[in-house]
């Protein structure tokens, strides 16, 4: 009797061991061999419509100021938040094509990936909403699909968005956040949040506007905790990240295009 259970256990273990690679294989193969890497694509002299759009999308993400300046109103690049051109986990990775279309509370609509991208231009890039068939939007959609290859449709990719910080039991304290900012962040982002070459401004008229996801304290805190200071993520405590986020939230930045139209128009005409 005991032998039987032992044999049964053995069979289960052996079959699991043999089955695991088989179960994992397809996704691994698809993600690694199914498509060329961006570096390979950049070397390629001739690309078809899809891959040329992927490369164009990659160029927009990494250098938005030069490649999609038409719809951009501030001096940010997509890759300032979507770190490593949207491939880094817990830093708003872009491998989310399988999640769309989905309902979002922000605009109360079912959003396709196109609308999602267009709203990024409106809020985070503080610009104007590109038309649905704008080449820039199509290129970024292609790049998002490219990054999403191997993901399971409808399932949440690992490390999507930013981590949700647990309740620390204290309110975020902007005064403490200021101290942390001056100590940890100001060397790159500037004392006045103005940024420097290669480092994005975090407030002021050249930063994201009040309608952007980054203006949400919890969202920004998750991003700061997981990724900031750059290359040394998760070194701040949860409370410190929340404090810095609250401090950033209090600063001057472009208005939300949804509620103060006149101000928005004035900003755009001046800027």
């Amino acid at each position: 009797m005991q032998n039987m259970t032992l044999i049964r256990k053995l069979i289960t273990v052996v079959s699991l061991i043999t089955a695991t690679p088989v179960l994992l294989m397809p996704s691994v193969v698809w993600a690694q061999q199914g498509q060329p890497t961006i570096e390979q694509l950049l070397q390629e002299p001739f690309l078809d419509d899809y891959y040329s759009n992927v490369v164009y999308g990659y160029e927009i993400i990494t250098d938005t100021q030069n490649n999609a300046s038409r719809y951009v109103g501030n001096s940010l690049n997509c890759s300032n938040c979507h770190l490593q051109a949207g491939t880094q986990k817990e830093a708003l990775p872009l491998n989310v094509a399988g999640m769309y279309p989905k309902w979002r509370a922000k605009n109360g609509k079912r959003n396709g990936i196109g609308l999602r991208i267009r709203e990024c231009f409106l809020y985070s890039m503080d610009g104007i909403m590109p038309p649905e068939d704008a080449p820039e939007v199509l290129a970024i959609s292609a790049y998002v699909s490219y990054l999403s290859q191997g993901q399971i449709m409808g399932a949440e990719p690992e490390g999507r968005g930013v981590p949700t910080l647990p309740d620390t039991g204290y309110d975020p304290n902007p005064a403490n956040g200021r101290a942390v900012y001056l100590e940890q962040c100001a060397s790159c982002h500037g004392v006045q949040g103005e940024g420097m070459v290669g480092m994005p401004p975090v407030w002021g008229l050249n930063s994201y506007n009040k309608g952007a996801g980054m203006n949400d304290i919890r969202e920004a805190a998750g991003f700061i905790w997981a990724n900031m200071p750059l290359g040394n993520g998760k070194s701040l405590s949860h409370q410190q990240a929340l404090d810095v986020s609250a401090y950033l939230n209090l600063q001057i930045r472009p208005s939300d295009p949804r509620d103060s139209k006149f101000l928005k128009l004035l900003e755009h005409l001046i800027n």
Binding site: D49, S52, N53, R70, G127, P135, L138, A139, R258, L269
Partner: protein
């Protein structure tokens, strides 16, 4: 011969001596620059490109054409050319994507090369055979296409594609509540109304009044409703450079695919030259400018060949800007050069303001431009001659249903056919007497016109025949064979053929040889 080509290929600057009133020229250039900015932006939209390409076209194509050319014609972005670029490249790549731009540049290179080929083959004469009715028909058809494509932006149907215009109208009417964006429609209507009211006050600058009306109504809409609600399309910030150098990508794969572009390249080259040469010929008739048609063809070709290297697409002469230029008193290419410079300066300063320009306002001006191209006066004018009315209507209708490229082919085919029909018509007068029949022939006697003559011969069969060839312009071998055959036939029935010829038709004697059945009388 080579010396002639070389002298045409180098800019002559012969107009320098005639540059009496340079202030007039500069002012005309300034007005031209203001007029071309909305055109450049909207025509870039027609060509499926970002607006800055249209502005670069307004700068560099105009500049090269004016430097190399001899007339005060304003070249630059052109409606028909822009539409044709769009129809040629849209099936190959997504609108405005990098591959699309590569293909547009490749197409423009081809257009420039073909136009240079026209120049080398002295092709300027070919366009004399294109009837004015055909050119008006093409222009009216292009106007219709412009109105239809302007509806896309006025009603904000950005992703809505149909094959036929009636389909589009039907879907718009039946689904108006879902499809039409009222904000966009409001701005478009304001622009069109502004244009038509503005024309009462200032027939020359009404386009600028229309654009301003559209821009202000756009600001009004943006002030009341935010963009996420209106979903309006804006022009956006244009990444403009002063010297936008670019190198067109050419490789094997592109060349393989671009064979599909060749028919379009030929059509664009042809249409562009036809329009430019019509303008130039009108200028030559109306003013005392020292114009060289071949040189204008060369200037167009070089401008289009160089266009892709300066981030712009192919262009051609513009009717309305040349007219404005002429009415302001410009007589030399200097106004074109000034215009190019002013566009560069103006867009540098206007760029930030243009960011909030709604596309519906741009489309409204397109609508006005398109409606102006369909002229009721033209239809009445051509209605007097049936053949011309047929050419006009057939061209217009085939453009409506089958697109501009087909329409051009139809126009060329019909003009050539009418031309052939006309020259194959002989003017025959018959005088009968007791001794025989005297037949006077006026016109060209060749294979196509022989049928007409044969009928007359057979209706007077069996009588002595005298054919008066004094006023016949051309006699070819088949006509000679015809006379030999007929004379033998008549001789067999006891009749005789006499030909009256003038002294210039000596070679005719040689061709006829010693045919004993024909009596030749030299007058």
């Amino acid at each position: 011969m080579i010396r002639q080509y070389l002298s045409e290929a180098t800019p002559s600057f012969a107009w320098k001596n005639r540059l009496g009133n340079w202030r007039t020229e500069i002012f005309a250039g300034f007005v031209g620059a203001i007029l071309v900015i909305p055109q450049g932006i909207t025509f870039a939209y027609l060509a499926g490109l970002q607006p800055e390409y249209g502005l670069y076209c307004a700068i560099f194509v105009t500049l090269f054409c004016s430097i190399l050319g001899t007339s005060s014609m304003m070249s630059g972005p052109n409606t028909a050319v822009a539409i044709l670029i769009g129809t040629a490249v849209l099936p190959l790549a997504g609108r405005g994507s990098p591959v699309y731009i590569d293909f547009v540049f490749l197409l423009c290179l081809m257009v420039g090369a073909i136009q240079l080929l026209f120049w080398l083959m002295r092709g300027a004469r070919i366009f004399q055979y294109l009837s004015p009715a055909a050119i008006s028909g093409i222009s009216a058809g292009a106007g219709f296409l412009i109105i239809m494509s302007s509806l896309d932006s006025i009603l904000d149907l950005s992703t809505f594609k149909t094959t036929f215009f009636y389909e589009k109208i039907y879907v718009i009417i039946s689904d108006a509540r879902d499809l039409v964006n009222p904000y966009s429609l409001f701005i478009g209507l304001c622009t069109i109304a502004g244009g038509y009211v503005g024309r009462r006050f200032s027939p020359r600058y009404f386009i600028i009044i229309a654009v301003t009306a559209g821009y202000l109504s756009g600001l009004l809409v943006a002030f009341i409703w935010p963009q996420p609600i209106t979903e309006l399309e804006y022009l956006g910030r244009m990444p403009l450079e002063w010297l936008p150098f670019s190198v067109p990508t050419i490789n094997m794969e592109y060349l393989m695919i671009s064979t599909k572009l060749i028919p379009y390249a030929i059509t664009i080259a042809f249409i562009g030259l036809a329009q430019s040469l019509v303008i130039v010929r009108e200028l030559k008739m109306e003013t005392d400018q020292d114009i060289n048609l071949d040189k204008e063809v060369y200037a167009q070709g070089i401008a289009n060949l160089l266009a892709p290297f300066f981030s712009s697409f192919a262009g051609a002469g513009s009717f309305n800007r040349t007219k404005a230029n002429q009415s302001l008193g410009a007589t030399t290419p200097f106004s074109g050069i000034a215009s190019a410079g002013f566009v560069l300066v103006l867009i540098t300063f206007l760029g930030p303001i243009l960011t909030y320009m709604p596309m519906a306002a741009m489309a409204g001006t397109l609508f006005i431009v398109g409606a102006d191209m369909i002229k009721w006066r033209d239809i009445k004018h051509y209605a007097k001659v049936r053949a011309e009315l047929v050419i006009y209507l057939a061209t217009f209708i085939s453009i409506m249903f089958f697109g501009l490229a087909t329409g051009v082919v139809v126009a060329v085919f019909l003009s050539v056919s009418v031309f052939m029909l006309r020259i194959s018509q002989l003017e025959l007068t018959v005088e009968s007497s007791d001794s025989g029949v005297l037949l006077k022939v006026k016109g060209a006697l060749f294979y196509a016109s022989l049928a007409h003559l044969t009928e007359r011969f057979h209706s007077h069969f069996g009588k002595n025949m005298t054919v008066d060839l004094q006023f016949t312009t051309h006699i070819d071998q088949s006509a000679v064979d015809f006379f030999i055959r007929e004379s033998k036939h008549m001789a067999a029935h006891g009749a005789r053929l006499t030909l009256l010829i003038n002294d210039k038709q000596g070679h005719f004697l040689k061709k006829l040889g010693a045919s004993s059945d024909i009596e030749l009388v030299a007058l």
